[in-house]
């Protein structure tokens, strides 16, 4: 059986009075693709950020290949370098070109020489078909191109898992395709991923397991077909109906 790469146990995240994540346990195995979906405000981003240790969990533990990251004294920078993260609102470094964005982590975290970093960064940009745009600044790129650079930036670090938080939801509908194509290729290569996504056709195609998330907890989980044919809970069924109607309209 494949090893679990990233896992949380009994994870809670509380912001003041808002319980964003309540008692969630979840693991992603080597080569596995898990898709997380659910209503906006249900705590998906918070869970993803806690897993990547970009937000400190209030309670509970996170493990990266069995190593507990929520204990004091852990080198979180090292751990974060092994977990790729792609943000909903992209968040490229505005003062750096596409190439500069991809090179920063290679240079400053992996301590590569300039030549080596550039070679690897260009390779990552080629993988997302952004090589010709290497010298452009974020503001000179379309949303879809920016997000492809965002993916290259995470990919170049050669992470053990990539977490993607609604990578297409801030894009115009006509630009989501180019990003989805890249993700599809990553899936084919066996990249370990946790993807938050409401692109249901894509989800159905790539997910090993889909997880319906609502009010900070896992409401229902199973293989994609389960959700397309017979979700058990009312909430999941209603959410699926709405999504499918939307997809049909698009």
């Amino acid at each position: 059986m494949a090893e679990i790469v990233l896992e949380c146990r009994n994870l809670w995240k509380i912001y003041g009075k808002v319980v964003a994540v309540r008692d969630v346990s979840l693991g992603i195995k080597e080569g596995e693709i898990k898709v997380l979906f659910g209503p906006s405000g249900s705590g998906k981003s918070t869970l993803a950020r806690c897993l990547a240790m970009l937000t400190k969990p209030t309670k509970g533990d996170v493990f990266l290949r069995g190593e507990c990251l929520t204990r004091p004294g852990v080198d979180l920078n090292k751990a974060r370098a092994r977990i790729g993260f792609v943000f909903q609102h992209i968040w490229l470094f505005n003062h750096l070109t596409a190439l500069g964005n991809v090179m920063l982590g290679l240079r400053r975290v992996l301590k590569m020489s300039k030549e080596e970093a550039e070679k690897r960064a260009r390779r990552a940009l080629r993988e997302v078909r952004m090589e010709e745009w290497a010298d452009h600044y974020p503001a000179q790129l379309s949303g879809g191109q920016q997000q492809r650079v965002g993916i290259a930036r995470a990919l170049a670090m050669d992470p053990e898992i990539i977490i993607l938080d609604e990578p297409t939801s801030s894009l115009d509908p006509e630009l989501t395709g180019e990003v989805i194509d890249i993700l599809r290729e990553l899936a084919k290569k066996g990249t370990t991923m946790l993807i938050i996504s409401h692109e249901m056709l894509f989800n159905r195609e790539v997910a090993d397991e889909m997880i319906f998330f609502d009010e900070g907890r896992i409401v229902e989980r199973g293989p994609p077909d389960h959700f397309f044919t017979m979700p058990k809970t009312d909430r999941a069924r209603r959410f699926m109906e709405r999504l499918i109607k939307q997809t049909a309209r698009d």
């Binding site: 920078n77 470094f93 003062h95 400053r108 930036r153």
Partner: protein, 220 residues
């Protein structure tokens, strides 16, 4: 105006003093202001309160009072001597830091959270993120405010005259006293201020255009 030629050396040495104090003040203000801005954002409650007190003092009291404190009060208290030029360097540096801290913190805060999280996600430390991601953007955004700060500081150095430092305005005062040609003298002094301040501000405009990056402009 030919009588002024006799006093060129006096004008020139006064001008040099003015320029030195101005540039030193701006440079020290930039370094210290950056440190204060970082301290205010990351330092926790106590550090941040201390920084606030510092800023309140330098922004909330007259420059002349600050000069007196450093020229008279502190030397008396510590039983030391500080010459007026050094007092100028210290006071204008500390004073400018208080103002520049505000500009730099504002610029840092405007780009802070999302860029910081993106940097952390790559494995950069917080310190690296500040150095490689936050400051390069903040500094670009802060240049226009910096230009205003320079403009006001360059003129405020005239206050040094009150503690007997021979800067540009005090040179004018001396000449006017000797010659009684008050109008010509001060017109000429004003012209010198105008020319050098405009030149530096123009240079800062050019710098701003040079380091400008698409999408990172300040809307003026």
């Amino acid at each position: 105006m030919y009588f002024l030629f006799e006093y060129l050396h006096l004008i020139f040495s006064g001008f040099l003093t003015t320029v030195e104090v101005t540039f030193f003040g701006i440079a020290m203000g930039l370094v210290l202001g950056t440190i204060l801005a970082i301290g205010d954002i990351y330092g926790g409650k106590i550090v941040s309160t201390l920084i606030k007190l510092y800023v309140e003092f330098f922004r909330g009291s007259p420059l002349l009072v600050q000069l007196f404190i450093f020229y008279f009060s502190i030397p008396t208290l510590l039983d030391i001597q500080i010459d007026s030029f050094t007092v100028g360097l210290i006071v204008f540096g500390l004073n400018s830091a208080a103002y520049q801290k505000g500009y730099i913190k504002g610029a840092m805060a405007s780009i802070y959270e999302d860029q910081m999280m993106a940097a952390l996600s790559l494995g950069l430390s917080k310190f690296q993120a500040i150095i490689y991601v936050i400051l390069p953007q903040a500094m670009r955004l802060v240049i226009p405010a910096w230009s205003n700060e320079f403009c006001s500081l360059a003129k405020s150095t005239a206050a040094l005259l009150i503690i007997g430092e021979r800067e540009l305005t005090s040179a004018g005062k001396t000449i006017a006293g000797h010659t009684w040609r008050v109008f010509e003298t001060y017109t000429f002094i004003a012209l010198i201020y105008f020319v050098w301040i405009s030149a530096v501000m123009k240079a800062l405009d050019i710098l701003y255009e040079k380091v400008k990056i698409p999408g990172l402009e300040v809307s003026l």
